[in-house]
């Protein structure tokens, strides 16, 4: 059993979590080019090495961030998303932009 340390629930079986993809900035859909949007939606960095990703503890629907080595399968660090996203994100209205 592989253990993932959930910032909310403590160490749990990794089977209780889902992987949510790399943490990255969303371009503003109202102002970015088509190429930028394609890049954001379908392209992957798919790094062999240390990555920073979204994970979700399914039972509690809690999303957080994990740093993980994709070559060694080691989980280096997990922490609440509030460590990265300090300001309120406003998705409403044209030109408001995404998460910074």
């Amino acid at each position: 059993m592989k253990i993932l340390n959930c910032p909310l629930n403590g160490p749990r079986n990794i089977a209780e979590f889902v992987h949510g993809g790399e943490v990255r900035e969303m371009p503003d859909p109202n102002t970015c080019s088509d190429a930028e949007w394609v890049d954001h939606v379908v392209m992957e960095h798919n790094i062999a090495g240390v990555v920073r990703e979204w994970w979700c503890h399914v039972a509690t629907a809690y999303w957080f961030i994990a740093e993980r080595n994709t070559i060694t399968d080691e989980i280096i660090r997990t922490y609440p998303a509030s460590e990265v996203f300090r300001d309120r994100v406003d998705f409403g209205g044209p030109g408001q932009g995404g998460p910074r």
Binding site: V38, V41, V42, M43, A48, I71, T72
Partner: protein
């Protein structure tokens, strides 16, 4: 040691025969460099040398030939896909597979078994009907069968209504087959080498150089080689190698595990697959049950095995074949798949001139080996994209023209 044996060993008229030539020194320049010495890369080399007269070719691999995903798949060959583009492509590959032992004069142990994709839910029945109709329309032999007929096709399968997920029906694909996957790589390698293709195992690519928007050289652990064209055929490491060429791909590297049981007397004729239970199982020609399941739950470049995989898979296998309860597992392993957003491969041109992509092989790469090798060779030799692979271009993502290949093994129903 018997004297006669020793004498034979040193005999001049009967020298020991090598199937593959020893690795030569790396030359300074080649017309075509193929990165990746698996089935795909070796097939492209073979078709280039055999049908296009291009023999100044080097196949590079950081490990040994056929040691990556070619050795790690479950060797299933079928063409009962869902999209018309996918069906046409995989059916051409199946047709080439049927004649491959003759083509290569090398036995790849092609064995036609019939392929049952079980449906346990109404949704899976609907997809099966859909696939049967698409297949029939394109001339591929697939039809919907129900439990009475399934019992005749595969008598050992548990069709009890008391099962947790009773079998409601199946998509029966008569030409479904298995082959010896290693032999496919060896056969292509031997025949390509006979025509002058150089095989360079243990030669790792570390950088790709370009000049004026065109690929110009490949830097390897054994020196730099100039080249006119490069084919990248390194599924599992596609993003890493493409990055050297300055390219980004819509791929996540995700392990796919498989395992085999101890050898048993032949009892399982068909290849049995269940998308709902995430199971596929066939019996190899040496009696082992070759079994696989869904892809791993998160991206990884490590080929470690997990207990969760074996536990989950066996729970479902025992539901389909309860009498296997006492059978031992012998080996378990993983390969790294290139998962694309639409479960379809990426073949053809790239934004870098002279750099050709053979990537995006998720759970569907082995069966594509001959058709992919042949069309990639034609593309490199003629410069025009064969119709068969045009829909699989990387550029489809720019237009959001995804293929939605719900017939792929990794797709749950």
């Amino acid at each position: 040691m018997p004297f006669g044996l020793l004498k034979y060993g040193f005999s001049k008229p009967d020298p020991a025969r090598r199937q593959l030539p020893a690795r030569p020194d790396l030359r300074r320049s080649y017309d075509v460099v193929i990165i990746g010495g698996g089935g795909h890369g070796l097939a492209a080399a073979y078709y280039l040398s055999r049908y296009h007269g291009i023999t100044n070719v080097a196949v590079l691999d950081k490990g040994y030939l056929g040691g990556g995903n070619t050795a790690r798949n479950t060797a299933i060959i079928r063409s009962n896909y869902l999209t018309p583009e996918g069906v046409a492509f995989y059916d051409e590959s199946l047709r080439l597979f049927q004649g491959l032992s003759h083509e290569l004069d090398f036995n790849v142990l092609y064995s036609e078994r019939g392929h049952l994709t079980l449906a346990h839910t109404d949704a899976a029945m609907r997809t099966s009907r859909w696939r049967a109709e698409v297949n029939a329309h394109l001339g591929v032999e697939s039809r919907l069968v129900f439990p009475d007929e399934i019992a005749r096709i595969e008598p050992t399968l548990n069709l009890s209504r008391a099962a947790r997920y009773p079998v409601l029906g199946a998509l029966y694909h008569v030409p479904g087959a298995i082959a010896r996957h290693d032999a496919v790589a060896w056969g292509y390698a031997i025949r390509a080498a006979e025509r002058g293709v150089e095989l360079h195992p243990m030669t790792e690519v570390t950088a790709i150089e370009q000049a004026g928007g065109r690929v110009s050289a490949v830097v390897t652990s054994r020196g730099t080689i100039r080249c006119g064209a490069v084919i990248q055929a390194v599924a599992g490491m596609s993003s890493v190698v493409a990055k050297m060429a300055g390219l980004r791909l819509p791929i996540r590297s995700i392990p796919l595990q498989a395992c085999v049981s101890q050898p048993l007397k032949p009892f399982l004729d068909t290849i049995v697959v269940s998308g709902s239970l995430h199971v596929y199982i066939s019996q190899s020609s040496r009696g082992e049950l070759v079994m696989g399941s869904a892809s791993d739950p998160y991206p990884l470049y490590s080929t470690r095995s997990t207990l969760e995989f074996a536990e989950g898979l066996m729970g479902h296998i025992l539901e389909l074949f309860p009498f296997l309860g006492e059978v031992k597992l012998m080996r378990q392993w993983a390969g790294i798949t290139d998962m694309t957003p639409d479960f379809a491969p990426i073949m053809g041109l790239s934004p870098l001139d002279g750099y050709y992509l053979d990537a995006g092989w998720g759970t569907w790469g082995f069966k594509a080996t001959p058709a992919c090798g042949r069309t990639m060779a034609a593309l490199v030799a003629t410069g025009s994209v064969p119709d068969l692979i045009a829909p699989f271009a990387l550029q489809r993502f720019d237009r959001f023209a995804m293929l939605g290949e719900k017939g792929a093994a990794a797709v749950g129903h």
